[in-house]
């Protein structure tokens, strides 16, 4: 079991918590038991001390009646006498009452007001005497209890002050052995400890087993995940045997694989697109060069070939730029830097710059709009590209002396920019296809193919990145209208 594994940590945590709980519980139990036992003993001692004081008083009363004391001198004499006699009394009590008072194992010590022992029960030997004297304090005011012990003995002693005749202060100390109590407590403690150990062992095994069962689905998921690599991202992890929390993990994991799969597909599609699109102009260049070199040619023919090569080189450059831009669009939308921009002024700029493009074909260019000061959140650089792509398409597919009209109108929180030409139009079938990558319409009439097939695809990507769209309406030989829809801000 690894030291930093969940299983180990859970087991340790769980066992520790259980241990703490059981220790607390056992401690409470133990001390309750102890205090109950002690209370019993203390009560006993109290009763015994009181009995003794009662007996002493009774004896004294009898003595008073028989001797008829009255003067202080006699009092003094009597006290001395009494104290002398009291030892015999104590002994007698101990002997006669011991069974009744249950004093058999107990020790009695009576002290005077100075704390000197004046009477000891007969069963106190020297050792005990020194123990009592050494360890047991006395108090004339308070009744209190104390445990005293040495190597051999262990007692609980009550210190019970009492007065007789209102001026003689004595202290009765009764001690009872704690042997039995201690035995009971020890046994209890032993049982507690053994029980705790057994319970801990059991629960640690059980906890381990439970942890393993809970973590099993994680192991299964891990194993399945190990098998998924970029070579085959179509695999998914099976959801069925898992519990709710793991299920969620598996679902998230599977959807992540799906996204990765898509990304990989896009990337490999992109790579093969690049390869194919570049190879064609390369093949043409190579072929033309080889042909030109195969025989002696005149300079006019050489010039023609060189012009053709140059065209193909330009074409390759455009393709590569478009493809690079495309890959950025598909993978990284952070290149859009949105800012608040005014569209009317923006479009006016674009139209002005487009005038130079329409001159060669003598196409007329008009722009009208119904509102000024309209604002949107957009990236001007990319929006320029969008509109120039659409406008250059319009120019390409419109014959000489044709017309291109750009109309901008707002409706609610949207702006519609319609670019209309009277060119060759697009078949209905192609109207959906033109926005796809590398789609070029087959044209007999054109002198050479200049397009990359990416212009409209890029335009659409930009529109979508601005939460907009491009719609097309067209009729063959009549013309086309491309309408760009973009959201405004108030």
């Amino acid at each position: 079991m690894k030291l930093n594994s969940i299983r180990f940590k859970t087991s340790v945590l769980y066992t520790s918590i259980l241990l703490i709980i059981m220790l607390v519980f056992s401690a409470i139990l133990f001390f309750e038991v102890r205090s109950l036992l002690y209370r019993d003993i203390d009560n006993d001692l109290k009763i015994k001390a009181q009995e003794i004081s009662v007996i002493l008083n009774a004896y004294e009363n009898i003595a008073v009646r028989t001797l008829n004391l009255s003067s202080p001198a006699v009092d003094y004499l009597f006290s001395e006498y009494f104290l002398h006699r009291a030892k015999a009394v104590i002994d007698e009590i101990w002997r006669s009452q011991s069974k009744a008072l249950n004093l058999v194992n107990d020790y009695i010590d009576v002290l005077n007001y100075q704390g000197n022992s004046i009477m000891l029960s007969g069963n106190i030997n020297e050792e005990l005497e020194s123990l009592f004297k050494g360890k047991m304090m006395f108090s004339l005011q308070n009744e209190y209890f104390k445990d005293i012990k040495d190597d051999k003995y262990c007692f609980r002693v009550i210190n019970h002050p009492f007065r007789y005749r209102n001026n003689v202060h004595l202290i009765i100390q009764v001690g009872t052995p704690l042997k039995n109590v201690n035995n009971v407590l020890l046994k209890t403690l032993l049982v507690i400890v053994i029980t705790i150990i057994i319970i801990l062992l059991l629960t640690s095994f059980m906890g381990n087993y439970l942890a393993r069962r809970v973590l099993e689905p994680v192991m299964i998921v891990s194993k399945q995940a190990d098998n998924i690599s970029h070579k085959d991202l179509s695999q998914r992890i099976s959801v069925l045997p898992a519990d709710a929390e793991i299920k969620q993990l598996i679902i998230s994991f599977n959807s992540m694989i799906g996204r990765l799969d898509n990304s990989f597909k896009l990337m490999s599609e992109f790579s093969s697109n690049v390869a194919h699109e570049i190879k064609t102009p390369l093949a043409i260049m190579k072929g033309e060069l080889e042909l030109a070199l195969s025989h002696d040619r005149n300079s006019k023919e050489y010039k023609r070939v060189m012009v053709s090569i140059l065209e193909e080189a330009d074409r390759m450059k455009r393709i590569i730029n478009d493809l690079l831009l495309l890959s950025k669009y598909e993978y990284d939308y952070s290149i859009y830097k949105y800012e608040r921009m005014e569209i009317c002024g923006f479009m006016n700029e674009i139209i002005e710059e487009s005038r130079v493009l329409v001159i060669p074909k003598k196409i007329s260019l008009a722009f009208d709009y119904n509102k000024e000061n309209i604002f949107m959140n957009g990236d001007p650089m990319h929006l320029r590209r969008l509109f120039f792509n659409l406008i250059s398409n319009a120019i390409k597919y419109t014959a000489s002396e044709g017309r291109i009209n750009i109309a901008m109108k707002t409706e609610g929180l949207k702006v519609y920019v319609a670019i209309t030409d009277n060119g060759e139009g697009i078949t209905e079938e192609n109207q959906t296809k033109i926005f796809t990558k590398f789609f070029r319409v087959r044209r007999e009439s054109q002198s050479f193919e200049t397009g990359t097939g990416l212009g409209l695809y890029i335009a659409m990507t930009i529109a979508k990145a601005h939460q907009g769209n491009i719609e097309v309406k067209s009729e063959l030989s009549k013309g086309s209208t491309f309408t760009v829809v973009l959201p405004l801000i108030s």
Partner: protein
């Protein structure tokens, strides 16, 4: 004089092969799409067809299958910018395959070889 039909949607490719094969003494016919090619095959006797796989709208594979069915005598060399392995996946059984990136010398060799074999098989057995 042998007749070669070049089927390719790229105008520059058609022009290049036209110049090439004309210089080599062939009669050259050009088609930019499958339909135009079919018209030509139907009308004229074609010895070799140089067929581009990747064409918009109707793929070259369609023309290949129709030719095999109705104009068996036309020898078809499949051409593409894709490598030969890829071309084989698309069309099996053509008389030869040409990768356009390999230059015109290889193309000439292939065309001549195809015609040579054809002549040999046509010679009456002794």
């Amino acid at each position: 004089m042998k007749t070669i039909l070049v089927v390719d949607d790229e105008e520059k490719v058609r022009k290049l092969y036209n110049d090439l094969f004309t210089e080599e003494g062939f009669h050259v016919k050009l088609a930019s799409n499958v339909l135009a090619a079919l018209k030509i095959i139907g009308r004229k006797k074609i010895d070799v067809m140089l067929l581009d796989i990747n064409m918009p709208e109707i793929e070259g594979t369609v023309l290949y299958q129709i030719s095999k069915l109705f104009h068996k005598e036309v020898k078809i060399i499949v051409s593409s910018v894709y490598p030969i392995a890829f071309q084989l996946e698309k069309i099996q059984g053509a008389v030869d395959y040409y990768d356009k990136s390999n230059g015109i010398d290889e193309l000439l060799k292939k065309v001549n070889k195809v015609l040579e074999n054809d002549d040999n098989t046509k010679k009456p057995a002794k």
